[in-house]
Each structure stands twice: as C-alpha cells, then as structure tokens.
Symmetry: C4
Subunit: 286 residues, 4 copies
C-alpha cells in the first residue's frame, strides 16, 4: 500500500491556463438531499463549487432550493423528482455525484435508477452514502461509467459483502477488480483502491468526526474529477488528500472542524498548492 503525500496536490493542482473559461473546468451534477437530509447535498455542492468546477447543478428535493441558494448562489437547482431534467443534467455532466442525503426509500431508489440509466461510459460517477446502501439492498447494478465509490466501512460491507473486521487489502482489492471502479474506503487512515494501486492516507484528525464530513468529501471528489478530468484517478487522490490536509490545519485551533469550513478554505489552499512546491503547508490559513 502506497502512502499518499502532498506530492499528489502539486501533480494535480496546476496554474490555470490564461485563456480558459467555465467549460474548461467541467460540469458537476450532484443528486441527493431528500426532505430530511438537505444539508448533505448542500455541503457536497459547496465543496464542488469551492473546488473550482466550472458549473455545478444540484438536483435535490424541492424544499431545499431556498437553503441551497441562500448558502450557495453559484449552484443551479433542479427538482430531483423531475426525471427528464435530471437525465438531461446527468448527460451533460463531466462528473455526476449521487448519494449525499439521498435517503433509501422508494423515491430515492427511483431517482438513483434514473441517474444510472442516464449516465454514459465516458462520464465520472461518484457514488456515495445511501446510494451505495440502495445498490446493495436493492441489487441495483453498477452502470457503465468511470465509477468512484466513497463508502465508509459499513457501506463497503454492504456493497462488497466483506465484513468490517475482515476488510483486508487483498479482499478489498479483489472486489474492486470485479467492480472495476475506484474505491475510497473512508476510515481511520482511509484507503483508495485504484486500477493499479492501493493508496493509504496517513493524515487526518479526529476533529473530522463530525456529521457532513463525508458529504463534503464526496463533493470535493466530484469537483476535482470534473476540473482535473485529464487524470481522474489522480484527481480523486488529490481530493482525498486535500480534504484531510485542510482539516488538520483547521484542527490546530479547533476541537472540531465543521465540514463547510474545509470547502471555504479550498480556494486559498489550492492557490498555495499551485504556487509552492515546498514549504507550502505553513500558514495557508493565515
């Protein structure tokens, strides 16, 4: 297992070309946030916008549109029960991220199937949270796409069938090979299973043990894979690393880190990474 270092940030986060426009940095369509879990998709969307994706649309329960725009006017809204509109937004995206706050009732399932039916093989598809649970429980097949799963250990157990105590690198890798997907297995020292390699995250802090932290990671993975779509695997690795690197920095002065703080720190953090291949860490939040 390779240990991730901040080198991945410098590899991925490069100065933007002078003559670039929104389209250069991809489109993200996020799908989730039912009547109860609207905050989850808002946090994921905030991460995608702050990471620098060109255009971000949030398909969610209609009751969440006001809170979404109050926090994040940069995101566009769609009603996630509008199958046609969601299908069209999914088709148009560089990356689709489905799951944060989606829930696991019949409506959730219908929405998930609509997303899976609309996605195309060349697109990135981040599958998070209850979307993973639904796939496992309802036996929904993984669609043809460049799939990235972001399960915690229990969700991975549901999807892979490997019990939490038995989730060894070897077993995880075997299931990953069957799925032919990238797997970000969230845990103390998160592991990332890619086609050719397994990476381990050795940074992070217990101050991240706060609701919404995973939604923010899913949104960052969505944002990075759209913006840095030239190398999606590295984009995933960079998103995972940046998420904990920022959290560690904030946690120097805070007992807990609120998820949206990570997102809001992204523009400053990413600038430092673009600029300073050495000593960049020090004081990036000052």
């Amino acid at each position: 297992m390779k240990k991730l270092s901040d080198q991945i940030l410098h590899q991925v986060i490069k100065p933007r070309p002078a003559n670039s426009f929104k389209g250069t940095f991809g489109k993200v369509t996020l799908v989730g946030g039912n009547r109860n879990f609207g905050g989850a998709i808002i946090m994921a969307s905030t991460a995608a916008v702050c990471a620098g994706a060109g255009l971000v649309t949030t398909a969610t329960d209609a009751s969440n549109s006001g809170a979404l725009h109050a926090q994040l006017p940069e995101a566009m809204f769609a009603d996630f029960t509008n199958d046609g509109q969601v299908a069209s937004l999914v088709s148009a995206a560089t990356t689709v991220a489905v799951g944060p706050g989606l829930g696991d009732d019949e409506t959730s399932e219908h929405i998930l199937k609509n997303v899976f039916a609309s996605v195309k093989p060349e697109q990135n598809l981040v599958i998070d949270g209850s979307a993973i649970t639904l796939m496992a429980r309802e036996n929904i097949s993984q669609p043809a796409a460049n799939v990235i799963y972001t399960p915690h250990e229990m969700e991975w157990q549901r999807l892979s069938g490997i019990k939490i105590g038995e989730q060894t690198e070897e077993k995880n890798r075997a299931v990953r090979d069957q799925l032919n997907a990238t797997v970000v297995l969230k845990k103390h020292h998160t592991e990332i299973y890619t086609t050719n390699e397994v990476y381990q995250l050795t940074i992070g802090t217990p101050a991240q043990a706060v609701g919404g932290m995973g939604d923010t990671l899913a949104g960052m993975v969505g944002g990075f894979t759209a913006e840095f779509h030239q190398d999606v695997t590295n984009a995933v690795l960079a998103a995972v690393y940046a998420h904990s690197a920022i959290a560690e920095k904030i946690a120097e002065n805070q007992y807990i880190v609120l998820p949206h703080q990570i997102s809001r720190a992204l523009p400053t953090f990413m600038k430092k990474m673009e600029q300073a291949p050495s000593e960049h860490h020090i004081g990036f939040l000052n």
Copy 2:
C-alpha cells in the same frame, strides 16, 4: 454549594482519540421550534453541532427546514408532527433535547408526549423552556430517563411549586431529590442541582441577557452530554461553565453577546481547554 471553576472544563474536554468516528461522539435529537419560534431550535441545534456531537437531528415545524439548512447544513431535519419519525429519532439518540421554541399549544403538548413515550431509561433527556411549562400545566409525568431540566426561575416555580422568592438551596434540593433529575436553575449565578451536590456558577455577564441565550445553553447541554456521555453530570457542568466563560470573553468587547456567537466560538474555545490546563483563558478568541 460548591463553586464551579474552569477545572470542570479540563476534566471533561479531552483530546479526541485518534481512531474515533462520528458514532464515538453520540447523537443528539432536538425537538422544538414551532411556526413562531423556529429560531430557538436553530440556535439550540447550532450549539449542539458546534460543541461536537457526532450527529445532530432537528425535529421542528416544517416551515423551519429552510432556515435550519441555510444556517446549519450539518443538522438533519425532521417534521416534528411526524410521530413515527420523531419516535424513531428519539430512540436512536444519545441525548434528546426537547423544548426550545416548542410552544405550549395542543400540538406542542402532543409532540412532547410523543417524545416522552419514546425515550428510554438509559438516554439523556434535556427538558427546556415550554416543555417544562407544559409538564407543569398539563400535569405530564417525567419519563424514565436521565433527565436534565434547564428552567429559569419562573419555569422552576411552575415545575417545583416553589415561588421565586423562596427558591432556597434546601427547597430546591428537596424537589430535585423527588424528581431524581439534574436541575440547571438559570439565574444570576446559575445553580446546578445534581444527585450528590449543588454547584454555583460565579461567572457570567449581563451582556448575556438576550433572547435565545437559554436555547443555546440547552443545545450545549445536549451536545456535551452526547459527546462526553461517559460522565453526564460533569458534561452538564462543563456546558454550563463554558457557556458563560465564552460569553464573558466576548463581552469584553461587546455590549451584548448574540447567542450564536457563543456556539460559533465553541470549537476554538474547546481546543484551548483541551490543550492548556493553565492560563488557557487568555486570548482564546484572538
């Protein structure tokens, strides 16, 4: 009557174990906030999230979900008139906090009874504001649970039958013994009645005489008792002490303290308490 000192903070707020996750820090379900008093439950929920509870759900009037998520995407939402969902959220919680902005009409009463019917003996139950008034007025029995009341003097009069001018330590203690609950009696120099001891808070500032201050305290008690559930009595004491310690610090530069400022200062304040057993007070907001 023992005087509380900042020692209680150091006793309770410890560095988080490296290998911890959301579940380590408990779940809080807050119930309150009718059509008129939505701000109260939002302020209480903000306190619970910022204190570091692992997962926070807010059961409130449906009209409040947008404002809740606009301010606090970290909290999940439930419609407090959905009896089944509330019962299930109450059952799943480490701590239930009921009362902030609940109101005292028939709907409020119905919701309170549903909460009381769903709570279990081993759970913490913070009873605040109009929930106390309703219990007294409608003669609703205290359920079997680890109950913490947070009344101001008039609410304590209603619950205990002891008139404000006659609320002596002895009388208060006698009623507390009957109730077998923790009582946080909010007043100038707040008193906390526990099973074995009575504590007095000698800090605080008139800058705290602002609407919503009590809702924030109830939310902090909710957050601390979930997060530090190993010793609930000390968690209550620490929440009460931290609430006024932060307020005092803010009041050095402000004529009044807005309740949400206390909540938003919690992550930084708690970090200082974790780190510095001496001289920690100085400059924690700088």
Copy 3:
C-alpha cells in the same frame, strides 16, 4: 436648534446591572415586511436585536419567516395577518415599531389599524415608512401612545401638510406640538423634534444613501427605546446619533455602507460608548 453630540451616547448607554435578565431590557414588536418588502422588516429587526433589546418579535408576511430566521434566529416570528396574535404581541411590548416594508395596500391598512387599536398609552410606538403614508392618505388617527415618527421629508409632507421646501423649524414644531409626538425628520442633517427641544444631527455621510438605511434606523429606535425605556427621548436621540456615528466610521473605508453593517457593529460600538467617555471614537471597529 441644539446640536447633538456624542454626549448623548454616554448619557444613555450605561454598563448593564450585574443582576439583570432579558426582561430588564424590554420587548420590541416590529410589524412590517409584506410579500415584496420583507428585507425591510428583517433589517429593522436585526437592528433591534443587535441594539440589545431583551426580546424581539417580528410580525410580517408568512413568506418572510424563513429569511428572517436564516439571518436572525434571535427574533421570533408572527404572521402579521393574524390579528389576534399581533394584538397580543403589541400589548406585551415595551416598544412597537410599525411600518418598515409594510406597504400601502388594503392588507397593510388593516394591519396598521389593528396595531393602533391594540397599543396602550404607556407604550412606545415607532411609526415609520409606509405606516406614515397610510395614516396621511387614509386619515387614520394617531393612537394614544408615546409616539415617535421617523419620516423622510416626503413622508413628513404627507403627514404634516408642510411642503418639503417649507419645512422650517417653526412650522415643524407647530405640527409636532399638535401631534404631541417625537418626530425624527430624516434628511441631510436630520432633525429631532421633542416636547421641549429641537435637535440637529451634524454627523452622517452620503455613503448612507442606500436602500434599507431608514429601516435600520427605525429598528434601532425600537431597540433603544425598549432597552433604555427609563428615558425614551434620550433613547431616541442616542439611536439617531449612533446610527450615523457608526456609518461615518465604516465609510472611512467604504464607498457605501450596507445597513446591516451598522446593526452588526452595534454591540462593539455600544461597548466603547459604555466604557470610554473620551476618545472612544477612535478605532472602535478595529
């Protein structure tokens, strides 16, 4: 005409007594904000809360409750078309402020009449904006109360019958005597007509020429007259002076001042006024 100086701030803003509670600082009920002008009553309410009134309730169009709580959870909400509830909130208030964003249609008129019918002689009643226009146009009598008008010159023309070019101190004073009210005539060098005296404000900045500035002033007058109800005339003078003093300070670095910035600066500004009878001005926002 007496020129107002910052002495009025020191006279009015005193250290709060140690043993005070919310009730010590009065209740404000604000009534306004129809479907189109919700921002006006939110800005007024923000001013009342930040000024330090003990309890603040905002009676407004139902569509504004979410935005109110998203910005200002400290305020309670009421539907301004609920006559009974508004009447009861008016009766319970130290100060009622009616008019910001109220509008001037039939519903507005009905609400205004309900407020006027509910107010009592010993209460403070701030009448602002479209409430003044409605009184003039619909010939609605001023109720028995301690009335404070906050018109701009056109509104004063409508109410007093004195044309803008002819609003001399003498004529204004004569109408004020008939009304037996305090009149804050907003203009370049605002004038305040009280029972015994006319005051002139010589501070202020064109950076204040921004929509919502008057709503914020009305809310500050509401907050100050509730909080410092021992001397209502001085409370009005202090509110008017503080409003422009803060704006001047902000305008040192800004081309325009956003109204909510004045409100949010109040707690810090008022602390300085309480503390430093000389040289207090310098750097209060730093």
Copy 4:
C-alpha cells in the same frame, strides 16, 4: 482598439456629494432567476446593491424570495410573472437588467417581452444571458432604450450571426452600429463596443472561470449605470474594469474567485478608487 486602464475608475467613481439621498443614485430593476437559476439573479442583485445603486428591486420566480432576502435584505422582491408589477418596476427604474438566470422557456419569453414593452427610450437596459438567446431564437426586436448587451461569444454569435471564429473588431463593430447599442463581449480580453470606440480589457484572471461570474458582471453594469447615470458609457467601462481588477486582487490568494466575493469587495474597492488617483491598487483588500 483602446486599452482600458484604471483611469476609467477615477473618472467615474467620485466622492458622493454631501447632500445626496437614495434617489441620487438611481434605481435598478433586475429581472431573472427562474425556478432553476435563482442564484444567478441573486448574484446579479448583490452586485447592484454593493455597487451603490440607490434602490434595487429583484423580479424573479416566487420560490427565490426567501434566499434573496436571506442573502440580501437590501433588495426588494417582485414576482416576475406579475406583469403589471414588473411593468411598473421597469418604468420606474434608471436601469433595467434582464436575463441572469431567466431561462429560455415560454414563461421566460413572456417575461422578456413584458420588460421590453415597458421600457422607455431614456432608460438603460442591460440585456444578459438567456435574454440574448431568446431575442435571437424568437426574433424579438430590441426595444427603444439605451441598450447594453453583455454576451459571451456564443451568445454574441446567436445575436449577431457572426461565428465565434470570425468575430473580428470590424464585423462586431458593424453589427453594433446596426444595433446602436453598447456591447460588452465577454471573453479572454473582453471587448466593449461603444458608439465611437472599441475598448479592450487587458486585465483578468482564469480564477474568474466560475459559474455566476457573468451574472455578477451584469449586476455591476446595472448598478454602475444607475448610480453614475450622468455618463452611461463610462459607467459600463468602469464596471467591466472594476470586476476584473477586484478578481485579480482576490486571485492573488485564491485558486478561484467566487462571484459574490467581488460584489462584497466593491464598497472597499470603490472607496480606494475615489480616494487615491495613484498607487490605489496596492492592498485594497487588506
């Protein structure tokens, strides 16, 4: 083609006259923001308010009023499907800005036609985004008004018939002369076509390649042309220049610039421009 320099800022942004009031700085009516794109009109409105327009009203889908007021209480709201109210708000404005987030369905078209039917020759009319697309697609004539278009290259292709690769100064100028309008052609090195001159913007940063950047520019053009209505052409030039100058400054420390950050920096930036005809750039955000 003349290169724009910061001289345009000093020419346009002057100290406000002491005896000015809201009316001095014009009224802006913004029309846009359907159910899906509410954030666009909120960002445009934020820009208009922060630029210093005297009064700002936002006509948008009813579902957006809460988020609008939660972010920007200074703006008034109107339902953009209320033809009579929109017509009246358009008539009363110094500048009308139509298009941000308007969409391009039948309702959008109806609203656009209503705006065009209500505007008068002496008013400024900013036409942005989907309003341009609708004009081209539905063959809607440009109304008699002082029109300012703010297309990106594809929108300009639709309106002018000139393909993106062929948009030369000469061809653009020829279409502009037919239209007799000001054209802000947004691209890397934005070009502004006026009656007598073509200007080029040589500043700007790829950190601006973020959704909502154009909506913010449209709002700034709206705000500047209302506030500085004495010379509308220069007001447009100053808005375009300020937009990128602020972005460049923010981008020194950020990988991307969020559109609302530009708006919120306007009051401080404009103060510097008013004050310091030389060396003003340095450190204006500090």
